[in-house]
């Protein structure tokens, strides 16, 4: 609502709403609230869950499921930006987001996020599967309430537990096709869940000052870079064999097995490199290398699963 009493009264003319009272936000600002890069990863992993799930689903229904999952993830992103607007403004990485820049008010972001969340869950339930819809609702709740509001500012385990929110999409994709859950999607959940800490801690090693300024207790801020490097290596050592599990449990083919073993060994090697290089520019480079490689690693795992699943589907 515009506060009429606060408008500018220019000499001889009609009152003009100063910037901030009437929104100048464009469509692009609202799209930025949806965290499109995070959304693309969510859509990709959910697509893998959809494709490798047994049974057939109509392409229109599959598209609807992906659309709802994408919008639901975007809604969670908007609600995250609403709550985190104060700390986003203090951090270099997030200062250009629409709310800190003054393009969108926190209230507008909250309304936008809640509306999208309700629509995404309702449409997924009505048109695809109520189990998938309940899981999407839980994912949004987990990301916004458990991670953003509760854990993020309280514990260095924030992204360990909060990482579950990013790991749910393949399970939702699977549930959208089968109407149930089994071990295969749980393995995909575990892969993303265990991948999240080394991925984000590698980033936070290079952004520790940012997090400290915003008083976000990321592991490098609370426990120091040394402990963070040790934890990165430990998680990578657990992640690599878990990522190969779909192959040795018979859920994925040989190509996936080889990819998981080779790429997993490289992930551990990069994590080892982060532990070896502890100081100066070389340490920063090692952390950035691990961060970049971790994205490629997860993408490679899921891309091979997608291709193998696609071939399996095409072959009947």
């Amino acid at each position: 609502m515009t506060d009429i009493s606060a408008v500018d009264h220019r000499a001889g003319g009609a009152p003009v709403a100063p910037a901030g009272l009437v929104s100048e936000a464009g469509v692009g600002d609202y799209l930025a609230l949806l965290k499109p890069r995070v959304m693309s990863l969510v859509v990709f992993t959910a697509l893998v869950g959809l494709v490798i799930a047994p049974g057939h689903t109509h392409p229109v229904i599959a598209f609807t499921a992906l659309l709802c999952i994408a919008i639901g993830a975007g809604a969670a992103g908007a609600l995250n930006m609403w709550y985190d607007a104060d700390i986003d403004a203090m951090m270099t990485r997030t200062a250009a987001r629409p709310i800190p820049r003054g393009r969108i008010t926190p209230g507008e972001a909250a309304g936008f996020g809640l509306t999208l969340a309700v629509f995404a869950v309702a449409v997924l339930g009505l048109l695809v599967s109520w189990l998938a819809a309940v899981m999407l609702a839980f994912t949004i709740f987990f990301y916004v309430v458990i991670y953003t509001i509760w854990l993020k500012r309280r514990t260095p385990q924030n992204i360990v537990i909060g990482g579950a929110a990013g790991a749910f999409p393949p399970m939702i994709g699977w549930a959208a096709v089968t109407g149930g859950i089994s071990l295969e999607p749980v393995l995909l959940f575990l892969i993303i869940f265990l991948w999240t800490p080394p991925h984000f801690w590698a980033l936070s090693l290079t952004r520790a000052d940012d997090y400290a300024r915003a008083r976000v207790p990321m592991l490098p801020v609370v426990a120091g870079p040394g402990e963070t490097r040790r934890q990165i290596l430990l998680y990578s050592l657990v992640l690599a064999p878990v990522a190969a599990a779909p192959w040795f449990l018979g859920y994925a083919g040989a190509v996936y097995g080889v990819t998981a073993i080779v790429a997993g060994a490289l992930m551990v090697a990069f994590a080892w490199g982060v532990n070896v290089e502890q100081d100066g520019e070389r340490a920063t480079r090692a952390a950035k290398r691990l961060f970049s490689y971790s994205i490629l690693y997860l993408f490679a795992l899921f891309a091979v699963l997608l291709i193998e699943g696609g071939i399996g589907t095409a072959g009947g």
Binding site: A14, V16, V60, V123
Partner: protein, 52 residues
């Protein structure tokens, strides 16, 4: 005589942004209608039968 109610005059930028938002909203709602229509055709009479 009652005074005319005081109104805010939007700047050109505010008008352009509002128009862009309105168009985006209309397109999104139109897409939702089309989506429901197509899914209803795809599912046929069983549109309300889905796994829980």
């Amino acid at each position: 005589m009652a005074d005319k109610p005081e109104r805010v005059v939007l700047t050109e930028q505010q008008k352009r942004s509002r128009r862009a938002r309105s168009i985006a909203l209309a397109l999104a709602l139109g897409a939702l209608v089309i989506l429901f229509y197509i899914v209803t055709l795809v599912k046929g009479p069983g549109v309300l039968n889905r796994p829980l």
